[in-house]
């Protein structure tokens, strides 16, 4: 029973010490900035391409939440798996998947990670240990627990990082998975990305227990509430959770308090929240601006930061170009990959 108490204490600390997690080195700050910028510019471009009709179907943008995946990824080691739901572009880029392959999948081209057969919500990379990209809300939680089961079975010391949102946190299979993960001491970090809205339903209108770090309480799974807009706080929590898992103590829950600037999907009427609310978060808490301001305060030059910007823009523009010119899948692809 020590675990939940410890977690409660940590969570309290996180709330009260007003966002002063351990400082990053300059290199860490620069890496975080670059990786978050890549996601943001990528998502802006994806939004643009969607508007042009180059991307079809559903397209859920990650803008605003970048610190979560970037900070978590900094806490992981080679071999750790990542799995998430349908708002997945940021996760893929953070694991090191190529922008070209992700963007080409969004446009349904043969050079996409799934040869154009998966689309925005269904991409995978065995090489980068990214297990999708799942379109059914909450399904990735059982699957991610299964990845941890496999780690445990093989005794390979790897951790499964299983992301889901505040909406998915109300699904039944999440709790079935929590129970088995703690029962069998599986190495899984449940990262609940609380961006305050499940589609258009705010947390207060959907959740009886709004402190998601406590969602594992009945299973004795410790949880932390983390400022998910501060990449340093995310990494610190990720470090703690990964150490917990690798020590064989079972799962841990990290509630990342974050915010999505864009709509749920491209067709979101945005009637459920005010423009002012979005503007305020952007102005006060933007994860990228936080890092940029710290770097400027640490006398990193504007020119250096602009160079990062330019590098990222080049990658994103090249991916957009590739994704629009790469051919569609061959018609014969219709019949492949049903069985192996």
């Amino acid at each position: 029973m020590a675990a939940p108490k410890k977690a409660a204490a940590s969570a309290e600390q996180d709330k009260t010490n007003g966002g002063s997690p351990p400082d990053f080195t300059k290199e860490q700050e620069l890496k975080a900035l670059r990786d978050m910028l890549l996601i943001r510019r990528f998502e802006e471009k994806a939004g643009q391409l969607y508007g042009m009709g180059a991307i079809g179907g559903f397209c859920h943008l990650y803008i605003g939440q970048e610190a979560v995946v970037v900070g978590m990824q900094m806490a992981l080691k080679q071999g750790d798996q990542v799995i998430t739901g349908y708002r997945d572009h940021g996760h893929m880029l953070a694991t090191g998947m190529e922008a070209n392959g992700v963007m080409a999948e969004l446009t349904g081209r043969r050079g996409g990670y799934s040869k154009g057969k998966g689309g925005s919500m269904h991409m995978f990379s065995k090489e980068k240990h990214f297990y999708g990209g799942h379109g059914i809300v909450g399904a990735q939680v059982s699957l991610g627990t299964g990845l941890a089961f496999a780690n445990n079975y093989r005794g390979n010391g790897n951790v499964s990082v299983t992301y889901f949102g505040d909406g998915a946190a109300n699904q039944g299979q999440v709790y079935e998975s929590f129970n088995m993960a703690e029962l069998w001491k599986l190495p899984v970090i449940y990262v609940i990305e609380n961006n305050r809205y499940a589609m258009g339903t705010s947390v207060s209108r959907a959740s009886a227990q709004q402190d998601f770090s406590k969602r594992g309480a009945s299973f004795n799974i410790p949880g932390l509430q983390v400022d998910g807009m501060d990449v340093r706080a995310v990494k610190a929590a990720g470090d703690e959770a990964a150490a917990w898992c690798r020590a064989g103590k079972g799962p841990m829950i990290l509630e990342m308090q974050t915010y999505r600037y864009r709509g749920h999907s491209m067709s979101d009427p945005a009637k459920y929240r005010t423009r002012e609310e979005v503007e305020k978060v952007r102005h006060d808490q933007d994860p990228i601006e936080q890092v940029r301001n710290r770097l400027l305060a640490a006398k990193v030059s504007e020119a250096d930061l602009k160079a990062i910007d330019a590098e990222v823009r080049d990658i994103v523009n090249a991916s957009a170009d590739f994704a629009q010119h790469d051919p569609e899948p061959d018609a014969a692809e219709l019949w492949t990959d049903v069985y192996r």
Binding site: G118, A139, L143, A150, Y153
Partner: protein, 460 residues
């Protein structure tokens, strides 16, 4: 008057059991709740508790007696004041269970274990088994267990998970002994959380493990069907071939006996609808073994539909080091020239019995055991129909959008000009499964219905 203790039915499908041991002697005092004997069924060893008080007057069935039918008097209990002399007053134990036992009566259609092993009706030699192969007689339950054990010995990535698969030794005793041989790491009891553990199995399979996920029955797999279809069946395609999963979902499917609507559904047509899944539904003990081994090795998700009514049935299983039957191949189990009867799983019970009946009337039926529903062996069906010109499908599931409907469509598409009569379907009736014994029997197909359908397509 002395009270008779009858051989109890310890499960809905039990027809007989072995009287393993008497724990009380004649003349001993018995209180209500005392364990007086141990009964072995093909599933488990169970204790018989006295429900009456008195003295154990006479043991009518000696310990060690095998195959005692349910409802056979096994002992008499003398009430206070009664003596051995009163034993004569007890009804004579001469005519036991046979017609008295309701479970046996309800099961009249299904071949009784050991007494009439169904697969023995098979006329055609199995092409998968080399001539001269030594055969061993086992129950389907044992064949399944052996298939899993052999594959687990062969591949350390194979594991079994599900409710009661380990310490309980399997709710239907199919996983008996696996925990003892392979340990708790590979034989895993799960909480009652089908959706969750199906997802965990699929996630583990995505990394290359090969889980065998047992559902206590496929009725409960409805809780997990999202993971089976959306995650297991579709991921290979959605990942452009990068990531699939080698996983077996297995367990009893369809009607058992007197367990009513929520525990009696046949899901064959549901799963056989889905690309990305393979669906296997065998009938004979040898096929159960060979196909389960194939399913475990298959790199794709396989739905392995078993039938509780068949678990205790025995059949000849080839004694081969590695007996694997390829998925996707039907088998002609009886040759004939007048009509083709197509079935699988327990539907074969009706089909084979009907073929015997039809032969008495001079109609030679060719009986095809599909064994695999997806991919379906259309070729074997079509070749047979081209020969006979007539076809009857037999399934326990519902008719609408059923597997029989699919077979009929394929025959129409591929052998329309060869048909001398419309394809007939014998199916479960279009109602939720009733509980009452007579209604349940009516809801299921029968050999008589198959005979009738076969005669109809032969215009007889």
């Amino acid at each position: 008057m002395p009270i008779q203790v009858l051989m109890p039915a310890l499960s809905p499908t039990m027809e007989k059991g072995n009287l393993a041991k008497w724990l009380k002697k004649e003349g001993e005092t018995i209180k209500s709740g005392d364990v007086i004997a141990e009964i072995e069924t093909d599933k488990a060893t169970m204790e018989v508790e006295a429900t009456d008080e008195g003295t154990l007057g006479k043991i009518l069935i000696a310990e060690g007696t095998a195959d005692v039918p349910v409802n056979t008097p096994i002992a008499t209990i003398l009430a206070d004041g009664e003596s051995a002399a009163d034993l004569a007053k007890a009804p004579a134990p001469a005519k036991p269970a046979a017609e008295a036992a309701p479970p046996a009566a309800a099961k009249a259609e299904a071949p009784a274990p050991k007494a009439a092993p169904a697969p023995q009706a098979v006329a055609e030699p199995d092409p998968e088994v080399p001539a001269g192969t030594e055969m061993i007689t086992q129950t389907i339950r044992e064949a399944l267990r052996d298939a899993m054990a052999e594959e687990m010995r062969r591949d350390a990535d194979v594991l079994v998970m599900g409710e009661e698969v380990a310490e309980y030794q399997g709710a239907y005793k199919v996983t008996q002994g696996l925990l003892q041989e392979f340990g708790a790491k590979r034989v895993i009891d799960t909480p009652i959380t089908e959706h969750g553990f199906a997802g965990i199995g699929v996630g583990a399979a995505m990394t290359g493990l090969k889980p065998i996920v047992e559902f206590m029955t496929f009725n409960f797999a409805m809780q997990a069907i999202d993971q089976i279809i959306n995650s297991a069946a579709k991921t290979l395609y959605m990942s452009g071939g990068q990531m699939g999963c080698s996983i077996v979902f297995r367990g009893p499917n369809g009607a058992a006996s007197r367990v009513a609507a929520q525990h009696s559904q046949d899901y064959a047509s549901w799963y056989s609808n889905v690309p990305g899944l393979k669906v296997v539904a065998p009938f004979s003990a040898a096929d159960y073994k060979g196909l389960l081994k194939a399913a475990i090795r298959d790199p794709n998700p396989v739905i392995f539909l078993e039938n509780e009514m068949l678990y205790g049935h025995t059949g000849e299983v080839p004694k081969l080091d590695d007996f694997v039957i390829p998925i996707g191949k039907a088998r002609i189990v009886r040759s004939g020239s007048h009509v083709t009867i197509i079935s699988w799983s327990n539907g074969m019970s009706y089909a084979l019995k009907a073929a015997d009946e039809l032969a008495k009337d001079g109609i030679e039926a060719e009986v095809i055991d599909l064994r695999t529903l997806r991919p379906m062996d259309t070729e074997t069906i079509i070749n047979s129909v081209k020969k006979t010109g007539r076809a009857v499908t037999v399934e326990e599931g519902w008719a609408q959008s059923g597997v029989g409907a699919e077979i009929a469509a394929r025959i129409m598409e591929n052998a329309f000009d060869y048909l001398d009569a419309p394809v007939a379907r014998v199916t479960g009736k279009d109602v939720p499964m009733p509980y009452a014994a007579n209604l349940e029997k009516l809801a299921l197909p029968s050999a008589a219905e198959v005979v009738e359908a076969a005669k109809a397509v032969c215009y007889r």
